[in-house]
């Protein structure tokens, strides 16, 4: 681990009861970098994110592997250290800001509460800080909005307030769990642009969990694709979108609505459904749904292997997949 690494996950495994939701994830986030974690529901992306804050009920979950944030071993923290670490070094914004705020306190109270929890400042100073944060995330008439209850704000404004809350104690790392999923399409892009701006201005390291490739490309420098608790492909945003090497990534790219809209063509989907995590098949977890699967894929699980500079894919037939994608692109261009 070097000084430039904000978050390092090594062989992270998270299980609940009999279900192994995250099954050996390796991930490195450089300082000041934004990474998107994409995948469909149940792929383990949100659980991976929560593992960084250890946000699971103690007795009912098992976490093994390494979680290191700024060189600190998160899994070894005591209860008290963990509470001090949460929100101060790493904070999180949630999918549905209406549910992530306590409904019976004003938004301002909830932000000052976080500041007072971590820093020895007066109430007035905390409130002044909260006001400055509201201005920073560009909430109109911030002074008045601080005294709003969460239900008195619009969805976009609530998510801005959530971001203000997450930044309240100047954390190094910001985790965002599908921050735009619950918002209107027009508001989504504003929130994404705000995140990107904050990341650049404050030098934040961001991990963004989303199932929206468009959102991932908008914010992230790097994209990691998760499937059934594994990272199946990781690379720069450009590499993933332009030159995917894993059949699942290709499936995700093809199933985006934009391509199908204007041609009246059928929306492409990935056939089948994700595997049963209580009963994992041997071999590659994506093999049953894969258009390139061969005998070996069903027998042996492929490791993440380099397919380019900083670009890795976990597929025995990565080159064939990439070639198939390029051929598909060429065909589409020819048709258009």
């Amino acid at each position: 681990m070097t000084d430039t690494q904000a978050v390092v996950l090594k062989d992270l495994k998270v299980g609940f009861g009999k279900v192994q939701v995250v099954d050996g994830v390796d991930l490195t986030l450089e300082r000041g970098q934004a990474m998107a974690l994409i995948g469909e529901s149940g792929s383990g992306k949100s659980v991976t994110l929560r593992a960084i804050l250890r946000l699971f009920p103690e007795g009912r979950s098992r976490i093994t592997g390494t979680v290191a944030v700024s060189g600190r071993d998160v899994l070894g923290l005591s209860k008290r250290e963990l509470a001090d670490y949460r929100g101060r070094e790493v904070s999180m914004i949630f999918q549905e800001p209406l549910l992530a705020f306590d409904p019976v306190y004003t938004v301002g109270q909830q932000i000052t509460e976080a500041i007072l929890r971590h820093e020895k400042v007066s109430k007035a100073e905390a409130r002044a800080r909260a006001l400055a944060l509201f201005e920073r995330v560009r909430i109109p008439s911030p002074e008045r909005r601080l005294d709003n209850f969460p239900h008195e704000m619009s969805g976009g404004m609530r998510q801005r307030a959530m971001i203000a809350l997450a930044l309240a104690c100047r954390p190094q790392v910001l985790l965002a769990d599908e921050p735009t999923t619950a918002l209107d399409a027009t508001v989504q892009i504003q929130i994404l642009l705000l995140l990107r701006e904050l990341q650049r201005d404050l030098g934040l390291s961001i991990i963004l969990v989303t199932h929206d490739l468009g959102a991932a490309v908008e914010v992230a420098d790097r994209i990691s694709v998760m499937y059934a608790g594994h990272i199946v492909e990781t690379g720069s945003a450009r590499q993933i979108v332009r030159d995917p090497h894993h059949p699942y990534t290709i499936g995700l790219l093809r199933s985006r609505a934009e391509g199908a809209m204007d041609k009246g063509a059928r929306l492409q989907t990935i056939p089948g459904s994700p595997p049963d995590l209580t009963n994992r098949p041997a071999g590659c977890p994506f093999a049953p749904r894969c258009f390139l699967a061969e005998e070996r894929c069903r027998r042996e699980r492929p490791p993440l292997g380099a397919v380019g500079d900083g670009h890795q894919a976990a597929c025995w037939r990565a080159e064939e997949a990439a070639a198939a994608f390029r051929a598909g692109q060429a065909r589409e261009l020819a048709c258009a």
Binding site: R86, G87, D102, H118
Partner: protein, 317 residues
């Protein structure tokens, strides 16, 4: 907020009117002549007519109602047929006694109910939860007059620690907050608190479990709040509902304690109602039912206002 309270007060008026009509009608719909209970069996028709006229029973019902309501509005609930004393004084004394008993019982019920409820809600499906749940089911289902008698047998008859009946050593029926009178209230209050304890415990358990499962609790942990910090949020979120249940329980206890007050000879409204019914003491019955009903209405009003003050999502005026 003030506007909201005024609005709520305005809403109460038709409810209060309806309550008065029902109170009056209920008593008159019941069969049996109120005067037959006080007059000797061989009274002449002239005497009966004279008494009927004196109490106003000879007039048509709507007129009787109007006269009764007019008096009620002036604070005159009539005269008890059985004792000849003003109903208002009798009812007031009984209400105070019932209120004392009900308050102590609710306090006990609320304390233990929230305690059990929080413990069970925080440790769902543990042994603690099962024990607390079993205890609350027992509390809700056990017949309280039976429990009262059992307690009397154990603590009064066998152990001799506490007096079995009455509100005080002198038998006057005026309870005072001193040690001697306190001993008299323990058994009836405990008996009475068993049901609210069970109901409040079950409600609070469900409430706490529900709150802990909400996203904002995870968000609180994510910003570094420790268990105590989270607990304060849970309490604040549970408070409106818990208080509403407590208020309603207090209301039920005020009116619904006939059995317990009779078992312990506690000179409250239940005891008074019991006597009024068996003696067919119409003015007393009407007066006590009306006062109790109005208590309920007032209590609901207070609970509503408190809920609004605690939970900003309930719309203000």
């Amino acid at each position: 907020m003030l506007l909201y309270i005024l609005k709520r007060l305005l809403y109460v008026t038709p409810v209060a009117f309806g309550v008065s009509v029902v109170c009056f009608a209920l008593v008159h719909l019941a069969p049996g002549d109120p005067l037959s209970a006080v007059l000797p069996a061989d009274a002449t028709q002239a005497t009966i007519d004279e008494m009927r006229a004196a109490y106003g029973f000879d007039k048509p019902l709507p007129v009787q109602y109007a006269i009764w309501l007019w008096h009620v509005l002036q604070g005159d609930l009539g005269t008890s047929i059985a004792t000849g004393r003003p109903v208002l004084g009798e009812v007031a004394r009984a209400v105070v006694n019932s209120l004392i008993l009900a308050s102590v019982a609710t306090l006990i019920g609320f304390t233990f109910g929230t305690l059990f409820g929080f413990v069970a809600g925080y440790h769902r499906n543990s042994i603690l939860d099962r024990a607390a749940s079993a205890l609350s089911v027992f509390g809700v289902s056990v017949p309280h007059y039976w429990l009262g008698m059992v307690l009397v047998i154990i603590f009064s008859a066998t152990l001799g620690w506490l007096p079995p009946t009455g509100a005080g050593p002198d038998g006057s029926g005026n309870w005072r907050p001193d040690f001697e009178h306190l001993r008299y209230i323990i058994l009836p209050a405990i008996t009475m608190s068993v049901i609210p304890t069970g109901i409040i415990a079950r409600t609070v358990r469900a409430l706490v479990a529900d709150i802990l499962a909400q996203d904002f609790v995870e968000a609180l942990r994510a910003k570094g709040m420790n268990e105590w910090g989270v607990f304060k949020h849970v309490v604040r979120n549970a408070a409106p509902t818990a208080l509403a249940i407590m208020g309603l329980q207090l209301g039920y206890l005020l009116g619904g304690s006939i059995l317990i007050e009779t078992v312990f000879a506690w000179p409250g409204t239940g005891f008074l109602l019991n006597a009024a019914i068996f003696q067919r003491d119409l003015p007393l019955l009407q007066g006590s039912i009306l006062v109790l009903a109005m208590f309920f209405v007032g209590l609901n009003l207070i609970v509503d206002v408190m809920q609004t003050a605690l939970d900003p999502r309930i719309e203000r005026a």
